[in-house]
Amino acid sequence: MSKILSIKDLQIRYGGIEAVKGISFDVEEGKIVTLIGANGAGKSSTLRTISGLVKPASGSINFMGEDLVGKDQAAIVKAGITLVPEGRRIFPDLTVLENLKAGAYLRKDKAEINKDLEWVYELFPRLKERHWQLGGTLSGGEQQMLAVGRALMSRPKVMMMDEPSLGLAPLVVQGIFDIIKTINDQGVTILLIEQNANMALKIADDAYVMETGKITKSGSGLELLNDESIKEAYLGKKK
């Protein structure tokens, strides 16, 4: 497997605060990679920087041999990296169908867009049932499906997900992670950041632990799941 996305010495500063202090990690094509860590570890900042929302202080972001630092968001989405933002952020006053079409905004190939629309409906039959409904009237779980579907409409090579389980019931979270697995099986590389370490590590091929702006541990999902210190810090094992 080849590296599709490679981050080197990434530093992110907000004013005088150093949010991310020179991290490096690789995302291999076709895998699920997760960054776990507590609030303020710099996970979201990392994703926001990869997607072009934040400019890094230094470091490089290499995507399929191309440096993404300094490119605008449209170029990054076009290149094949799409972010599913934290808190779902669907468009509440657009219908489900319009939300999905907004995801394909940068694409012009109508026939292919329709094909992908069918694909998203296949993944989420619930969205097809409700395609005429306003996004804001969906339940939390359905909104998360819509957010994922919308991101898929840009036909990403890498889909980055920021806390997809946030504020959802455990049963719904299980459903979302099943979907992530399915999407990954169909060839989309996933970069997932989560506080729900247990769920994330279970499906991840590779995992990195972030603490206060640094990567402190890495390994396969299974390795970290069985790591004693991780168990204590994130998985709620009793001492």
Binding site: L53, Q73, I76, D93, A102, R150, S154
Partner: protein, 374 residues
């Protein structure tokens, strides 16, 4: 359940029928009533307000940019129209304090020379109206660069300030050779028939409708709903906000040109911020995000204020003669109460975010009800 295709055909037929009825009505009124009749005047002013309200709705309703610069762009449009359409022979009289002004040609006259008197003049007037929009759009492009970085209330204040500056600037004596200073511009051609106004407004609304339902329209609405998510989809915020601002100002400029035609004279003094608020009122009452709502409300509002409720100011209303109460100003008091009542009962405006064609719904039962009502 109707299929999507059937539904769309029914909706199209409904819209087409309404358009044809309105058009036929306008033609009949033009043929039977003199051009100074109040009904013709109401239709003309209603068309002007509908044009501007629709343009404001694009910006405030569909893109979520709270701008209050509409009167400024209307002023630009009105002056552009007047300056470039006053017949050359009349300029010495109009610009009597400025040696006939510096512009010494008239676009409608130019086209009258090519296509003949009646068609050429009309064609030239349309061209001048489009020019009015272009000038307003160009200024919007320049103003937009700094102003569109602002959000919500700050954007509103900045655009409001812009409109006031434009108004002051156009009255400046140093610009007199172009704008005639604080004097009136007059003697330019206008359309005598209200049908022409209706046709222009219909064209504007149709263009707006196509725009709102295109992928650009979807991007505008996405920005309105959630800027962060829109950006994550690769929608360029700055570019689309600028686009919406320029298009909205273009049509506000066209509306301003139409207003100049309707009023017969142009003076910067009349483009106060109160005019923007009046348009904003129409947008809100009609439904933020509903084009047909804006159009419908514009005509109803103008008809009520200019015509139907006139009696409240002049002593006699609906056969009741009460000169003690029905005095000057009472009409606007009643209008204010009516507006409050409408807002209380329709908290999202009369049309909400629905359009006229949404009267034909998917559920066949409701569609039947609509037919009965119609």
């Amino acid at each position: 359940m109707l299929t999507d295709k059937q539904l769309r055909r029914k909706q199209f037929i409904l819209v087409l029928a309404v358009c044809l009825v309105v058009l036929a009505g306008a033609i009949i009124l033009d043929a039977t009533l003199p051009s100074y009749h109040i009904i013709i005047k109401v239709i003309k002013k209603g068309a002007v307000y509908a044009t501007v309200a629709v343009s404001m709705n694009l910006l405030n309703g569909f893109t979520g940019l709270f701008s209050l610069g509409q009167a400024g762009f209307m002023l630009l449009g009105a002056y552009t129209y007047a300056i470039f359409s006053i017949p050359v022979a009349q300029r010495a009289g109009v610009y009597m304090y400025y040696d006939g002004g510096i512009v010494q040609f008239s676009i409608p006259e130019f086209f009258a020379g090519i296509f003949g008197e009646s068609f050429g003049t009309g064609f030239g007037m349309i061209v001048t109206l489009i020019l009015a929009g272009v000038i307003a759009g160009l200024i919007a492009l320049l103003i937009g660069l700094p102003v569109l970085r602002l959000k919500s209330d700050y954007l509103a204040i900045a655009t409001l300030g812009f409109a006031e500056i434009v108004r002051a600037l156009f009255q400046w004596a140093k610009l007199g050779p172009l704008t005639n200073g604080s004097n009136l511009l007059r003697a330019y051609p206008d359309f005598k028939h209200c049908t022409a106004y209706i046709l222009i407004t219909a064209a504007v609304v149709a263009i707006m409708f196509l725009l709102v339902n295109s992928s650009y329209g979807r991007a505008f609405k996405a920005i309105r709903d959630d800027e962060v998510a829109a950006e994550a989809m690769g929608i360029n915020l700055a570019k689309h906000k600028r686009l919406s601002f320029v298009i909205s100002s273009f049509f506000a400029g066209v509306g301003g040109g139409m207003l100049a035609m309707y009023m017969g004279t142009v003076q910067a003094l009349s483009f106060k911020s109160a005019m923007t608020y009046e348009i904003l009122l129409l947008v809100v009452i009609g439904g933020i995000g509903s084009l047909t709502g804006s159009v419908f409300t514009s005509f109803v509002y103008v008809a009520a204020v200019e015509w139907l409720l006139r009696g409240l100011d002049s002593g006699k209303f609906l056969g009741i003669s009460a000169p003690g109460i029905f005095k000057n100003g009472f009409r606007m008091a009643i209008v204010s109460i009516l507006i409050m009542v409408v807002v209380l009962f329709f908290s999202k405006g009369i049309f909400g975010d629905k359009e006229l064609h949404d009267l034909v719904k998917k559920q066949p039962k409701k569609a039947k009800e609509v037919k009965k009502n119609a």
